[in-house]
Symmetry: C2
Subunit: 320 residues, 2 copies
């Protein structure tokens, strides 16, 4: 069933960077991604519709928050919640399985208005890891928790779920194929969102199941603030997907912001430079969604594909 | 026994930044720290001598590597190994205990010549977490592992140790005091080193036991590349200690390097600006050791104290 995991069938070498830059078209801005990867076959029309429906649903959840004056942080959490709940995407339910056939989830949020952040790695009990990351930010003295215990998730009033909830037949089949055929483990597939709200604040959220067949305990860039997730009012919010190790080494999302802060680059130029230096020159691939302080959206990737949703003057753009 | 954990008795509010800048005095450069903190009493002369002896021993271990043309990476690992083995410092043996009275260790290394890095969090089995972080960098497809299993440590040929090895009576007494008196948990105490070798390459290594009485699974800035640990040839290597959450939010060590890369700042000016913005303005405290591409050393902290060792024209400087 390769079509159940499009964009995840192989480690995709980087290609020329694809970049969309969209000026703000209303008082708020929102963009999301559903994972970068390499496609080994075209999606069938029906499968494409399912992915498009998932991306659209997630976009609308965030837009509904922003439309009534809600915060960027609430919007990115509402968007990522939908993608976590959708078994098609590699986050929450339907996440990629570890070698042991289990699900371990990573997530992070960052609020550009306060500069506060929360992150979890190897989460097994929270139904929505993005809400657990937010709870770490808002309810804990800490910022980053690994293996957060079920008792903590429950104490914070968050919904829990068993492994059976997260594990889908499609992912079990994917892992079996990888183990049987000795395939290279897919390195891609993560979801995330960025937003600028009507108050001018930005926020980012990212959530992932990691790599299929990954070694127990491997953490990618998603929960690493400054790598896969970063937000700072006056500059930008960024959420990444791709080969996590390259994003960590390059301190990817903060490098984009640093080029804006210290070299005066615009968001699109900063994104292009960081992709070239941090990913392409190292033969790594991935992508990101970003929004700057004025609400300008940049969606870019050097991987063959990246699922994404954003709006331009013509309406909602769904990339599959 | 408060004197067994000097610099760790309280969350210390920041003070004016103390900064030492030392030009290179030979073909290589080395600096280490043994933790930042607030001192509630002066060290007794005998205790001071023990700390000084530990700092000096660690410095000499790294210097011996560099003196014979060894790499910066080997030097910082040799330095941190000594500090991990010394029960006086909050890393390896003698690390701070979690609420459950156990030891969970974090460490990271980064090699400025390759841009590669390795990190571990919640390590319980490797006798020297710094060597495990290096093995993740050199022997694994991943960069960052949490709860690395004992089997992996052994498979990589690294020495293992039981919890009994790591847990000291002094730390058990410290935890008991904190639990009995409801004291605020100390937030400080981490070790690290930076070096520039005779080939012009820089490297950084950091290792910590985290906060005493920390919640299970809390990860600070030490293993977060770009926060507590970063190295890049042509720019600088940096190792941090202090209130980890503030260092993560500020993407501290990469912010210093970004000011050098994109704003043209020198190392000392970049360090001063990053401390002011990321720590002092947020009432957080800590410090760092850093070395730039020419071998210039910067040792700085806004905490009341920071244990450190480095050389200036007059000889070895030991700060306790």
């Amino acid at each position: 069933m390769p079509a159940d995991t499009p964009g995840e069938e192989s480690v995709a070498p980087p290609r020329e960077t694809v970049l969309f830059e969209v000026p703000p078209i209303r008082g708020w801005s929102l963009a999301l991604h559903g994972g970068a990867g390499g496609r080994i076959q075209e999606l069938e029309a029906e499968e494409r519709h399912r992915f498009e429906a998932g991306l659209s649903r997630a976009y609308r959840a965030g837009a509904a928050v922003l439309d009534v004056g809600g915060t960027a942080l609430d919007a990115v959490c509402a968007t990522v919640e939908q993608l976590e709940d959708d078994p098609l995407f590699n986050a929450g339910r339907g996440a990629a399985l570890t070698t042991d056939g289990e699900v371990e989830l990573d997530a992070a949020v960052m609020d550009g208005s306060t500069g506060l952040a929360g992150a979890v790695a190897a989460s097994r009990h929270a139904r929505n890891p993005v809400f657990l990351a937010r709870a770490v930010m808002e309810r804990s003295a800490h910022l980053f928790l690994v293996h957060p215990p079920e008792e903590l998730v429950a104490r914070w009033g968050l919904a829990t779920a068993d492994q059976e909830y997260f594990i889908t037949e499609a992912r079990q089949a994917q892992l079996a194929r990888i183990l049987a055929d000795g395939l290279v483990a897919p390195r891609h597939g993560t979801v995330g969102a960025v937003a600028r709200d009507t108050h001018g604040t930005v926020a980012a959220a990212t959530s992932t199941g990691g790599m299929a067949n990954q070694e127990d305990g491997r953490v990618g860039d998603t929960p690493v603030i400054g790598a896969g997730t970063y937000a700072r009012d006056g500059q930008a919010a960024i959420s990444c997907t791709g080969e996590g190790e390259a994003f960590i080494r390059g301190v990817f999302s903060y490098d984009v912001v640093a080029r804006m802060r210290y070299a005066g680059s615009g968001l699109a130029d900063a994104v292009t430079a960081t992709i070239d230096e941090t990913l392409t020159s190292r033969r790594a691939s991935g992508g990101l969604v970003a929004v700057d302080a004025e609400g300008r959206i940049v969606v870019a990737h050097n991987s063959p594909t990246m699922f994404a949703a954003f709006e331009d003057a013509s309406g909602l753009v769904l990339r599959t």
